[in-house]
């Protein structure tokens, strides 16, 4: 079974090799003379006014967590789709109930307005 995934492994290795290798070549061959002025952060010639990290609106978080939940739901759909033919009505009903529960959640989100940005 694992031999099916050998191309993917090769692909990963190639990606890793290219990514690390090219960086490394640049690092070794390029001139690298850091000094204080070069290393200090600046904005248009000034010193940085503030940290680049700033507080996000909590709405981003809400969207992200709702995304995760539906993402998980989709993950459950894959095995179901693969064996769909063999499961019979019982399996179909199981998934229907599963989706119905998440539709309840979806209606809830929709009506609450959590999916609207403005």
């Amino acid at each position: 079974m694992l031999e099916n995934y050998l191309p993917i492994l090769v692909f990963i290795m190639l990606g890793l090799g290219l990514g690390v290798g090219l960086e490394l070549v640049g690092f070794i061959l390029g001139k690298n003379k850091p000094d204080d002025a070069k290393n200090s952060p600046f904005e248009c010639g000034f010193d940085a006014f503030e940290d680049s990290r700033s507080k996000f609106d909590v709405r981003f978080y809400l969207v992200a967590i709702l995304f995760i939940i539906f993402d998980l739901e989709i993950a459950f759909l894959f095995p179901w789709a693969v064996v769909f033919n063999e499961l019979g009505w019982f399996g179909v009903t199981t998934m229907a109930v599963f989706l119905a529960l998440l539709v309840v959640g979806f209606i809830y989100e929709w009506k609450k307005g959590a999916l609207e940005w403005e």
Binding site: F90, L101, V104, I107, Y108, K112
Partner: protein, 476 residues
């Protein structure tokens, strides 16, 4: 799977439908008071309760690929859970309106929590056991933080969440080891596999340590009790009334399913762990409670001590002991509900009588509710003829019957220590001069529920057999 039978888990299905229904009603009704949500929730809970009451004494049924079991024990525990959660909602209704977080989600989340507890007590598989626990915990985390402008509440939710997540991690690690050892996740098959002494008994013992640690976290046994006082104090009191009561019943169901149904062959190992946890909990809970000025924290530490007594019933290690524990946890849930219900009742918007000083002189200003507090305190202290006395007696009796009389003496000594702080509350209420006027939540339903709740402590104490008989039946 051709003949699918829905009746075994019909109560759970109905509970789920109820939760979704309440969620939808909240969305589609314009009622600011959420009366319809509340009424639907209560009617639904009562209907499911009636359905459960009709089939208490039944033959055990294992269904759904061995993930679910329905027996007298699960039915009784579900009945207890539903009654207690329903009463906690009566307390909550006016309280959350006064605190301005009256939202339909409060009701639907409570129903989801009840569903989680029901799943826990009738689980026959590690998966359903764990998922029920997570369903319960997740709803409780959300409910604690629901009053968003209350910093203490949010802090309590985070503490509860972090410790709860660690506990889940412990539990899962133990379960994974047990699965590695036995190759089963279904509890009865696991017990069968463990009964055969093999190379893995050492690993299984190690797994038991993790599982018991997770359980102790959830029950709030020392040394995993740190979250409990902060959560009880920080959470909105109506939520505390729920957390302190019904989940303990579910915790008992969890312990019985996991330890007795699933890990019976390793009883010696988990009994020792529980013994240590129980002994230390009784001592620490009772001693630290003496130093508390905050009534909620006092109740939290007393809760730790109560859980210590409760777990000693498992040490007795026979059905009599388990029945005593079950009796204990049902009685404790009722008492904790009454105690926190009283705090809910004595609050008004933005202020709670949460320190002992606040309750000074309640006896002169309002003798009736002072009497109610007395009932609760005396019952918690374990004096006859209140309900708090009998399960303690049963625990001691089962310990003595199993030959652990030293343990019984130890528990009795600390019960006497505990008497001190319960009586201190009564002293403050009756003998200190009042400093302020008392105002209560203006709600007839709460007043009625509180009175009913407190008087039931006395009435059930007069006929203790009414509950204990069923506990024995469930575990025989």
């Amino acid at each position: 799977m051709n003949s699918f039978d829905i009746t075994p888990f019909l109560p759970e299905v109905l509970m789920l439908i109820l939760a979704c229904l309440v969620l939808m009603i909240d969305l589609y009704s314009n009622d600011r008071e959420k009366q319809l949500c509340y009424v639907t929730t209560q009617i639904g809970l009562v209907a499911i309760l009636v359905y459960l009451l009709g089939q208490v004494n039944i033959e055990p049924v294992v269904a759904y690929g061995g993930t679910f079991v329905k027996d007298s024990l699960s039915q009784l525990l579900k009945i207890g859970i539903i009654i207690i959660s329903g009463v906690s909602l009566v307390y909550a209704r006016v309280f959350i309106r006064g605190r301005r977080f009256l939202r339909g989600e409060y009701y639907s989340l409570t129903v989801f929590a009840v569903l989680g507890m029901m799943v826990m007590v009738s689980a026959n598989h590690m998966l359903s056991l764990y998922l029920g626990l997570e369903l319960l915990s997740l709803t409780l985390y959300a409910m604690i933080a629901m009053e968003r402008d209350n910093k203490l509440g949010v802090e309590a939710a985070i503490k509860y969440f972090v410790t709860g997540a660690i506990a889940s991690g412990f539990l899962l690690y133990g379960i994974s080891l047990l699965y590695g050892v036995t190759g089963h996740l279904q509890l009865d098959s696991m017990a069968k596999a463990l009964a055969v002494e093999g190379d893995f008994s050492l690993v299984a013992k190690f797994a038991v340590v993790f599982v018991v640690a997770g359980l102790a976290f959830k029950l709030g046994l020392v040394p995993f009790h740190m979250w409990l006082p902060d959560v009880y104090q920080g959470a909105p009191v109506s939520v505390t009334a729920l957390i302190a009561s019904a989940p303990k019943i579910a915790g008992f169901g969890f312990a019985i399913r996991l330890l007795v149904d699933g890990l019976e062959p390793l009883a010696i190992d988990w009994q020792q762990l529980l013994l240590v946890a129980g002994i230390v909990s009784i001592a620490l809970g009772n001693l630290v409670a003496i130093a508390q000025d905050n009534f909620k924290r006092l109740l939290a530490y007393s809760g730790i001590a109560h859980m210590g007594y409760f777990i000693l019933g498992f040490y007795a290690g026979d059905n009599g002991g388990y029945a005593a524990s079950m009796f204990y946890v049902l009685a404790y849930a009722l008492m904790a509900l009454a105690a926190f219900g009283l705090i809910v009742f004595m609050s008004r918007s933005g202020y709670e009588y949460e320190t002992l000083d606040d309750m000074r002189g309640l006896g002169r200003k309002n003798p009736w509710y002072a009497l109610m507090i007395t009932f609760v305190m005396v019952s918690m202290a374990g004096l006859p003829p209140f309900i708090g006395f009998w399960p303690k007696l049963e625990i001691f009796r089962s310990l003595v019957a199993s030959g652990y009389w030293q343990l019984a003496v130890y528990a009795i000594v600390f019960s006497v220590v505990g008497l001190y702080y319960y009586l201190r509350v009564i002293k403050v209420v009756y003998f200190d001069a009042p400093e302020q006027e008392f105002s209560f939540l203006p709600s007839r339903s709460i007043r009625f529920a509180i009175t009913f709740n407190c008087i039931s402590l006395l009435l059930l104490g007069l006929i203790p057999d009414s509950i204990y008989r069923y506990c024995l039946m469930a575990l025989s």
